[in-house]
């Protein structure tokens, strides 16, 4: 090959290499304008905020000294909340496993995934407290309504993330398992589950954490747990007891965080 006498110069390159497009900039301006509009609509003024700080301080002042006499109410409510959380998580995991599998588009025919995804979408669309109200109407006051409400929430959360985790697995590993003549169920056991197991543990522990928090709240609408005691303490202006309940909830959530981290470490995920 003969080299050309003078290689042609590359075309001049001008302008910044990474420019936000007109659309992105317009969206940013619109977002800022809407934020200002919403602020003006909601009577969100500095005066109200600074007054509110004073109210808040007085409220916290009333919480002291904390009320440490109602151990029986506290203990009963907390134990019920924990039971609601654990039961709902266990039920939710058991039900979201099949739903999650059926929703994975790389394993199932399209019509099956649509049904599974519809179930997940319904479970996700309503807040657990709203679902709890519905179940209180359906099965009456008490922990059963709370367990059912949080089970629904768990299916919505784990089912969706589990489907997505399965859709992200490496098809090469599955291909190799198929090539051995494995049946569909055996392919799931050796080709799919090992790839998603650690993420599934992560979802489950997160959901347990989430259910612990929510189980303290469904009681407000009469679905069992410490929430009921908390709500009535508020209504009786019994702020000392409110503080005791809140501190106990925080302690439980922190302990659960430590516990789930230890579990993940033990399972090497």
């Amino acid at each position: 090959m003969s080299a050309p006498a003078s290689p042609p110069l590359p075309p001049a390159r001008t302008g910044a290499p990474f420019r936000a497009s007109a659309g992105v900039r317009a969206a940013g301006v619109l977002l800022a304008l809407y934020t200002l509009y919403a602020l003006s609509q909601l009577d969100f003024s500095w005066q109200r905020f600074s007054e509110g700080l004073g109210h808040g301080a007085r409220l916290i002042g009333k919480m002291f000294p904390p009320d440490l006499d109602k151990w029986d109410i506290l203990g009963k409510g907390i134990v019920e909340s924990l039971q609601i959380a654990v039961l709902a998580t266990a039920l939710g995991i058991a039900l979201s496993l099949p739903v999650g599998f059926l929703g994975a588009r790389n394993l199932m025919p399209a019509w099956v995934t649509w049904i599974a995804r519809f179930i997940v979408a319904v479970c996700r669309s309503l807040h657990p407290v709203i679902v709890a109200i519905i179940f209180v109407k359906a099965v009456g006051f008490g922990a059963l309504a709370g367990v059912l409400a949080l089970t629904v929430a768990s299916i919505g959360f784990i089912g969706k993330l589990f489907s997505e985790a399965i859709e992200e697995i490496s098809p090469k590993q599955v291909e190799a398992v198929r090539a051995t003549g494995a049946s569909f169920m055996n392919m799931i056991a050796f080709g799919v589950l090992p790839q998603v197991f650690s993420r599934f543990i992560g979802f489950a522990t997160y959901q347990l954490d989430s259910n612990l928090r929510n189980s303290t709240m469904v009681g407000i609408v009469g679905a069992g747990g410490i929430g009921g005691a908390l709500f009535s303490a508020f209504q009786r202006f019994d702020y000392g007891f409110v503080f005791t309940i809140l501190a106990t909830i925080v302690a439980i959530i922190v302990l659960a965080e430590i516990g789930t981290n230890a579990l993940k470490k033990a399972l090497d995920v």
């Binding site: 590993q173 190799a176 051995t180 003549g181 049946s183 169920m185 055996n186 392919m187 090992p194 790839q195």
Partner: protein, 261 residues
């Protein structure tokens, strides 16, 4: 233990595969592969070597043609099988992959036992209950491929060469009548490549089964093959031994000539 595997044979007739209608990748392949020996398939990228191999065990469905698999006095057309019958025949075809395709989060032993999944029911497989004979054979094979000490290591802790040995051991766990290998050395260094090809040839001979290897390295193909098949443009353009594979032939297979200098 079951009886020693008998040799298998493949007879591919007018195999056509078109991923998009009217644009076939394989344009009527006819081949007979029988008896002990290592057959290499060479050809440029995109000419359908992997497609050919995957049509044989039906990881890919062929568009037309037939693939007769003969073993143990049976003769079946792989292209006509479905469902359980297809899975039952797949058990007799071992496959080794370019990127090993081990289940990364399982141990070496579990990966080997994967080769028996075609013979184990779901209830037993989910509980990891495999027949003792399978476990014994897995340990034996691990020693054969030089990984006896690695049974309980996770597959993602191994090097490339070690992984491919596990991949071969997994395929051999099936006691295959035919062994397929899709570019088994393309992700490996030259020394490990030679070791892997040696292992494939030795195991094929020891078991008296045909081994079909897709390979990019022509020198490696010449060195290890009893027979070389050259593919180009979806056709078989060469079928013979390494000696007949001269420069003119390589030009026909790969096109161009600059790379041969």
């Amino acid at each position: 233990m079951s009886a020693t595997p008998t040799t298998g044979a493949l007879e591919i007739r007018d195999l056509v595969k078109a991923y998009k209608p009217g644009q076939p990748v394989l344009k009527g392949i006819s081949l007979e592969i029988a008896g002990t020996g290592l057959t290499s398939v060479i050809g440029p990228s995109g000419t359908g070597k992997s497609t050919l191999l995957r049509c044989i065990n039906r990881l890919i469905d062929p568009t037309a043609g037939s693939i007769w698999l003969q073993h143990d006095g049976e003769r079946v057309d792989m292209s006509a099988l479905r469902g359980a019958a297809l899975r039952a025949q797949r058990r007799h075809i071992g496959m080794v992959f370019q990127e090993y395709n081990l289940v990364e989060r399982l141990t070496v032993m579990e990966n080997l036992l994967t080769g028996r999944l075609g013979y184990v029911g779901a209830w037993a497989a989910w509980r990891r209950r495999f027949p003792q004979a399978d476990i014994d054979r897995a340990y034996e094979l691990l020693d054969t491929v030089g990984l006896g000490a690695f049974a309980n290591q996770r597959a993602d802790a191994l090097s490339g060469g070690q992984r491919q040995r596990v991949g071969i051991a997994r395929a051999l766990m099936q006691q295959p009548r035919v062994l397929l290998a899709d570019e088994p050395t393309s992700s490996l260094d030259p020394k490990t490549s030679v070791e892997i090809m040696t292992l494939l040839r030795e195991q094929g001979r020891a078991r008296g089964i045909p081994v079909v290897v897709n390979i990019h390295d022509v020198d490696l193909a010449r060195r290890f093959s009893d027979r070389i098949i050259g593919m180009s443009g979806g056709h078989v353009v060469y079928d013979g031994d390494g000696a007949g594979l001269d420069e003119a032939m390589l030009k026909t297979i790969y096109g161009g000539e600059d790379w041969l200098q």
